[in-house]
């Protein structure tokens, strides 16, 4: 079966419905048929996650549905990622380093953003919660990140976002990376005030903003 005959829409639909068995099975079938792993990601998984994001934005999907769809996405993505060689990473929209601000132990929303970014075609390194500014800097250096995402749920940890941006500047990375901030108490005004490049109020808009910052409205097709 050639790439044109592969039922990508069925795969996307299974992902939207959170059916991880089907997504995993179709991924294996596609690979058995010799399809390009990147084609499966960009034609099967990403269009599905786009729909999930849109449903979430319109309050048709809530957190449980998004988590089930993300789980279905990883049933495919985890099989495909190891097959994509370093030389073939050109299709990625960018490399994101993401974490919760220092002192903040909340990571449910941040993980949602990380999954949606990965589902949109970004390479994502999730540093977890309570991430020190130096750790962000180190990860940017190590992974050649182009975007840094910082999240906070507590108003008291929002200043740590500013300290992270300052640390990136001190390390000489400020021109190289775009910084995005988000989290329940964060606002555009706060983002502007601390010198962040972008703010999004939810995970769907975070993907839109990340694409905008990456200077890529549409993914490079494999």
């Amino acid at each position: 079966m050639s790439d044109n005959d592969f039922p990508y829409p069925l795969m996307a639909r299974a992902l939207i419905l959170g059916d991880r068995e089907t997504v995993g099975r179709m991924t294996r079938e596609g690979l058995d048929q010799g399809l390009d792993p990147k084609a499966i990601i960009f034609k099967g998984l990403i269009p599905g996650m786009d729909v999930v994001g849109e449903k979430f934005r319109r309050n048709e999907y809530y957190v449980p549905q998004v988590l089930l769809s993300a789980r279905a996405m990883y049933a495919g993505l985890d099989l495909l990622k190891p097959l994509i060689t370093a030389s073939a990473t050109s299709g990625y929209l960018g490399t994101v380093v993401i974490g919760t601000a220092q002192g903040d132990l909340h990571d449910i929303g941040k993980n949602l953003v990380a999954m949606m970014l990965e589902g949109a075609g970004f390479k994502v390194f999730n540093l977890g919660r309570d991430v020190a500014p130096e750790t962000f800097v180190q990860a940017v250096r190590e992974h050649h990140a182009t975007i840094v995402g910082i999240s906070a749920l507590m108003t008291t940890t929002m200043p740590a976002m500013k300290r992270t941006i300052d640390a990136l500047a001190a390390a000489g990375f400020r021109d190289r990376v775009r910084v995005m901030v988000g989290g329940a108490p964060v606002t555009q005004a706060f983002a502007d005030e601390i010198g962040a490049d972008g703010y999004a109020k939810d995970s769907t808009l975070a993907v839109v903003k990340a694409k905008e910052l990456a200077g890529a409205a549409a993914p490079a097709r494999p």
């Binding site: 809530y62 089930l68 002192g103 606002t187």
Partner: protein, 301 residues
């Protein structure tokens, strides 16, 4: 004298009561730093915690909650304090009890674990139940009058907490959930997509004695949420919203509603059907003093 929660439940049938205000706001103002465990202060800074309870009682709170919002083992483990779960909860109760005036009450605060239940997340319902059971037992032994299961994001966690409280003692359980305002539809829903009436019915079916909302947005949304809940149940309802939305200025975070602005919505909140009112993030004893004035004026009627 602890264990008088049912007296509170009887009283609230006859007259509105005043709960307390924010704790995080007050603890951070007293010097709690980023990444420190608020519940640890029940041991290391008892004077501060006791002082906050006293300030709320003096401002007019009929009852206050303990400084144990993050007192489950799952939550304390994040600070490597899980082994002190019992101690920190018991000490938390003691601090509120010490300044509780005659006729006042103490509610044991139980907040979310910040973990999501399977199949969406990484904990089982049995683990959630066990975490809440351990905390509820410590709070009951410490001497609370009732429980305040609060700021819950999804129903399974709230229901596990209610079941746990009822499993260790027959004290009343208040349960409130976090609602987000959906601008697109001009309505309020939980993170799991449930409407206020659905939440009220689900929590009552799960054994809660008082239900309602806390945190989230300001009292303007609380009015809508309580009105919708009131349409489906005659039981006592509680609302303790935030002092509006957080605003940042010069790296400092404040909330948009001062005491005077916030209290303007409280007659409307009582009219909507709230039997117990208080306030959450961004509020202070001064907010509660103004809210208590409104409530006391109602009692005289």
């Amino acid at each position: 004298m602890p264990g008088r929660g049912w007296e509170l439940i009887r009283r609230v049938q006859a007259e509105p009561l005043v709960f307390d205000g924010g704790y995080g706001t007050m603890l951070f103002a007293a010097g709690l730093v980023d990444g420190a465990c608020p519940e640890l202060w029940n041991d290391t800074r008892p004077d501060i915690v006791r002082g906050i309870h006293r300030a709320y009682f003096e401002a007019g709170s009929d009852f206050v909650e303990t400084n144990t919002f993050g007192g489950t083992r799952l939550k304390l483990d994040a600070y490597k304090l899980g082994d002190r779960t019992r101690e920190l909860n018991e000490k938390g109760v003691r601090l509120a009890r010490e300044v509780c005036p005659p006729g006042g009450y103490v509610a044991g605060s139980i907040g979310p674990t910040s973990h999501i239940v399977e199949p969406y997340g990484d904990v089982t319902e049995a683990e959630l139940f066990e975490n809440f059971r351990e905390q509820a037992e410590a709070l009951a032994e410490g001497g609370v009058d009732l429980f305040a299961v609060e700021t819950m994001m999804y129903p399974e966690e709230a229901l596990a907490a209610i079941r746990a409280c009822k499993a260790v003692t027959d004290l009343p359980v208040m349960t409130t959930m976090f609602f987000q305002y959906e601008e697109l539809h001009d309505r309020d829903r939980t993170m799991w997509g449930e409407s206020p009436p659905e939440v009220a019915q689900k929590l009552l079916a799960g054994g809660a004695d008082v239900v309602g909302m806390n945190c989230g947005r300001g009292p303007d949304r609380a009015i809508v949420i309580i009105r919708e809940m009131r349409a489906v149940t005659p039981v006592a309802l509680i609302a303790y919203p935030n002092a509006g939305l957080p605003i940042t200025r010069g790296g400092r975070v404040t909330y948009e509603l001062g005491p005077e602005e916030m209290v303007r919505d409280y007659p409307g909140l009582l009219d909507a059907g709230a039997n117990i009112v208080g306030a959450c993030c961004g509020s202070t004893p001064e907010h509660i003093r103004r809210i208590a004035e409104v409530v006391r004026a109602r009692r005289g009627r």
